[in-house]
Structure formats: structure tokens, C-alpha cells
């Protein structure tokens, strides 16, 4: 049965779907009060940002003579927002659709999803942490009139300050791993093997990191209070600025509520030369992985050359946020038209 049929049969389901409109209204009020500009960014684009871990949707555009040109569906509004900041827009946000391919068979993904990205001029990642604390509390108070979030039998207190944990601290605390040692690929292999994971010659350092993170750490995050997990290894995050006091790490954080990742923040990389190098590396990786190949956006590098002001920004998954506020464990339950009702491939 499709969602519209279920709703027709059982009107008591409607309130769950009305939470989303409250969430988007709360987001707009929050940023309006802080004088951020809301801008529309394109969904149909010529150059996706070079991020090798994402799979893009590709389509073809034709002119009236049927000459073809490759087009893509946007994976995030980040690049157009940064161009606007170069142009002088100031603090800004976009609440829009983004698309990511190959994320099937998951209760946490839908191929098209609603993303909120905001950028603060002159800020770094620590300022955005505070924005997150305030925004979540604001939304929950507006939708549920409380600072307490109830999710899947858990109670999570959204008031600031949230728990702050560096990636290195989380490895120590939950996996008993000394992260200084883990940085060395040979040590990382030895540690993973000792823990009983399969280690093959083809496995990258990131894979070893992720497997330990997914099995031993992620589930512990965001219980009782949300967790801000910060300072990720520099190799993970193509558009993040490196930490000046320890360049092995990037100024990046993610926040978790009840084990669920909700947002990913960077102090934005403003150095055009480094950005260009990283894009090239990412695209080489895209090629190696046999994914859809595209060119990086030269116009973006041009904009960075002109000068992106110091800023920091974050992407938050609005569908996952709605999952939390409707107390459901399946993203499809927050969508009036879930992808899996449209495509049997996603079932």
C-alpha cells in the first residue's frame, strides 16, 4: 500500500507527516531571527563537488538541435553558497533537495533528501557547534514544547552544552585505541587484526577507521545528550580546513543524537591552491573506484582565488531530524512519497 492510500485508510497517521512543516517553519524562523539570507541554489548542475565517497546522479540535457550535454543532480548546495559568499552575501543558508546515488536498502537514506546548509562569516567550527545546540533546542521547543527529546524509548536532553568528544578521545574511550598509533597504517592493520576484523592488502586506512568506528563507537554517541564528535583525520573531508596546531586533523565535526548522525561541519577551506589539489586527488579516487566521472568546477576555484572570507558551515539532514521528532526509525515514515514506493529497486 502506498503512503497516500494508508493515509486515506487511517487519517490518524496525518499528524506524523505534519511534523515536517513545523520543522521547516522553525528552521526559517530561527535563521530569520539571526538575519541569515535564505537563497535558492540549483539542483540541476554541470559540475558536482569532487567528493569521491559520493555517487552522483547523471542525466543528459539537449539543446533544440539535440546536441547533448551531461548534467548532474546536486549532492549539496555547498559550492553555490560559497560563490555567493565570495560575491558578498554574508551569512546565508539553503533548505533544498539533494541527491545521492547508490544508497539503497537503508532506513537512514532516501535517494533524494532535504538538506539544510548554513554558513557563518568569520566563524569557525566551534561557533557552528553553538548554532547546532541552539537550533535543535529551538526546533524541539516549537514542535514539542519541551527541551527533552523522546526517541525510541530514550530521553535526550537537548539543552547546551552538548557532549564534546574528539575523534581520538572516542577511539580511546570506546575502542581502547591510542589514536596516535592508529595513524600509522601498519599499526592500524595490526590493531584491526588483533580485534578480529578481516584485513586485506587492498583495505585503505579509512576503511579500517570506519569499520572500528561503525562497530565500536557510533552506537555509543548521543545518548542522554547529543554528542559533538570533532577533529576528524585530515584525509576525510575534501573541503575542510586543517587544524593549525595539529595538521593531521581537520577542523570538522559531526553531531549525533541516539546513535544517528545528523550533521557534518567544516571550518571551510579558503585556500584555492589546496582546494584544487584536493579536488584532483578526489577525482583520481573517483576514477579508481570506477564511479561516474566528472570534471571539477573551475568556476569554484576561480571564486576561491577571488577570495572566500573566513567562514564555517554545516549540512544537516532534515529528513533524519524529522525522524527524531516523529520518533520513527525509518526515514520512509517521514516522507509522503518515499523512494521505495516509487522504485522497487529500493525495497
Amino acid at each position: 500500500m502506498k503512503t497516500w492510500e494508508k493515509l486515506r485508510k487511517d487519517p490518524s497517521l496525518w499528524p506524523r507527516y505534519f511534523v515536517r512543516e513545523k520543522v521547516t517553519r522553525a528552521i526559517r524562523t530561527f535563521f530569520d531571527e539571526r538575519e541569515f539570507h535564505e537563497v535558492e541554489t540549483p539542483i540541476l548542475i554541470a559540475h558536482p563537488p569532487a567528493e569521491s565517497y559520493l555517487d552522483v546522479f547523471q542525466t543528459t540535457m539537449f539543446d533544440r538541435h539535440r546536441h547533448p550535454a551531461t548534467a548532474y543532480l546536486s549532492t549539496s548546495p555547498e559550492v553555490p553558497l560559497k560563490k555567493l559568499m565570495v560575491a558578498g552575501l554574508g551569512n546565508c543558508y539553503s533548505l533544498t533537495k539533494s541527491f545521492r546515488n547508490m544508497e539503497t536498502q537503508s532506513k537512514l537514506h532516501n535517494p533524494e533528501f532535504t538538506i539544510l546548509e548554513w554558513y557563518r562569516i568569520g566563524a569557525d567550527y566551534k561557533d557552528i557547534m553553538k548554532d547546532c545546540e541552539q537550533l535543535l533546542l529551538f526546533i524541539n521547543r516549537l514542535t514539542a514544547s519541551t527541551s527533552m527529546l523522546r526517541y525510541q524509548g530514550e530521553k535526550i536532553d537537548l539543552t547546551a552544552p552538548w557532549e564534546r568528544l574528539t575523534v581520538a578521545e572516542s577511539f580511546k574511550k570506546y575502542a581502547k585505541i591510542d589514536f596516535d598509533m592508529f595513524f600509522d597504517i601498519e599499526e592500524a592493520r595490526r590493531i584491526a587484526k588483533e580485534k578480529g576484523y578481516q584485513v586485506h592488502a587492498r583495505n585503505t586506512w579509512e576503511e579500517l577507521f570506519d569499520q572500528i568506528f561503525l562497530n565500536e563507537i557510533e552506537l555509543h554517541l548521543g545518548h542522554g545528550k547529543p554528542t559533538i564528535l570533532y577533529e576528524f583525520p585530515g584525509v576525510m573531508g575534501a573541503l575542510a580546513k586543517k587544524k593549525s596546531s595539529d595538521p593531521r586533523f581537520a577542523e570538522r565535526f559531526e553531531f549525533y543524537i541516539a546513535g544517528l548522525e545528523l550533521g557534518d561541519c567544516y571550518s571551510e577551506l579558503t585556500d584555492w591552491k589546496e582546494q584544487k589539489e584536493r579536488f584532483k586527488k578526489e577525482l583520481a579516487e573517483v576514477k579508481r573506484l570506477g564511479k561516474t566521472i566528472y570534471n571539477y568546477d573551475h568556476d569554484f576555484i576561480k571564486a576561491l582565488k577571488v577570495g572566500l572570507p573566513k567562514c564555517s558551515g554545516i549540512a544537516v539532514g532534515v529528513d533524519r531530524l524529522t525522524m527524531l521528532l516523529t520518533d520513527t526509525d525509518d526515514i520512509a515514515d517521514t516522507l509522503l512519497f518515499p523512494g521505495k514506493e516509487e522504485f522497487s529497486l529500493l525495497e
Partner: protein, 194 residues
């Protein structure tokens, strides 16, 4: 035993995890970051029925635990005995007439839809029953239904009836005692009048 990779994972399949046979209850592909792909699984131990999560790297290899599917007739439930052994459900192989039993822990909620003399697909490894392949629907006779029940007005027109195995099911108002209905045993929901 044969070695398979995560690409061959199927729901309901049996694999060896930490030296013990486990059933894949659920699996999802996850892409947490740079170029790496993972398969998150929920694995149910055949020995203890305990469910735990494990995330494999895409391409990791595991040993498949071989099972054969036998058609068997459900005979009866063997109550808890004095030695403290819990409820067991006894089946008979339709071809060899050999008897096998399954503990309640491996049947879960499906026990409320088991009907004596009906045939089920029972999975066997090394002459031990290890599980039952749950059918997509079960057909059962309605034994108790209130006539003209007004039902729950919020959710439209539903009422609760009892079927021959004793299970209670929420059905549309037009279902009467003596009807046979189809139920999805996984969710316990009414599907259609058979």
C-alpha cells in the same frame, strides 16, 4: 562449508560469525565516508537466539552455514518439562517421517500462527532443525468474530477477531466467523479474505 562475500548476503541466510552459526536477520549497505562501503548486519545466534549487530567491510568474506529446506508437518507443542527445557514445537518430515523440534526462541511470534497438520519449510543442518522459513502469508479460519461490531472509529472500520490458532487479528468489519483470512505473519496484519 563455502566461503561467500558480503555481495552475496541475503536476508534469512546462515553464516558463521565468531565461530558460531548466525542468521542474517537484516542487512543494509552503508557508505560512511571516503570511498569505503560497508554492510551493516543484524545477526541472530542459532544457539542463543541473541541478536547483535556487526558491520562488515564490503568484500569481506564469511563462511556460509549450509542448511537444507525440508517440508514438514507441524504436529504439536511440547510444554515446558520438569528439567526446565522451554516450549518446543515438534515437526515431522513429509518424506522421511523423522521428527524434529524447534524451540520457541527460533520461531518468535510465528508460534501464534502455527496450525497442526499444516506443512512448513523447516531448515535443517546436520540433522538438527535450525529454523523455519516464514511464509509471506498464512491462511487461517476466523473462529470468533463479533457481529456488527462498531469498530475503532479513529482508524476507520476495523475490529479484532480470533483465528483458529488463538491469535488475535485486526480486520475490516465485513469479516465474519467462518471466513478464512490471509495474514502477514511478520507484522501480524490482515491482508485479504481468502
Amino acid at each position: 562449508m563455502s566461503s561467500i562475500t558480503t555481495a552475496e548476503f541475503r536476508k534469512g541466510m546462515f553464516i558463521i560469525f565468531k565461530d558460531e552459526p548466525h542468521q542474517i536477520v537484516e542487512f543494509q549497505h552503508v557508505n560512511p565516508g571516503k570511498g569505503s562501503a560497508f554492510v551493516r548486519t543484524r545477526l541472530k545466534s542459532l544457539k542463543t537466539s541473541r541478536v547483535q549487530e556487526f558491520t562488515y567491510k564490503s568484500g569481506d568474506s564469511v563462511e556460509e552455514f549450509p542448511v537444507e529446506t525440508h517440508e514438514m508437518q507441524y504436529l504439536y507443542k511440547e510444554g515446558p518439562d520438569q528439567t526446565g527445557v522451554k516450549d518446543k514445537y515438534v515437526f515431522m518430515d513429509n518424506y522421511s517421517y523423522e521428527q524434529y523440534s524447534l524451540p520457541e526462541s527460533l520461531l518468535g511470534d510465528f508460534v501464534s500462527y502455527l496450525k497442526p497438520n499444516d506443512t512448513y519449510q523447516v531448515m535443517v543442518n546436520d540433522d538438527t532443525a535450525v529454523g523455519l522459513r516464514f511464509p509471506k502469508k498464512v491462511r487461517l479460519l476466523v473462529t470468533e468474530a463479533e457481529e456488527g461490531a462498531r469498530g475503532d472509529t479513529v482508524s476507520g472500520a476495523n475490529k479484532v477477531v480470533t483465528v483458529e490458532t488463538g491469535a488475535k487479528v485486526s480486520v475490516p468489519l465485513f469479516i465474519k466467523q467462518g471466513d478464512t483470512i490471509a495474514i502477514d505473519p511478520e507484522t501480524g496484519t490482515y491482508l485479504e479474505r481468502a
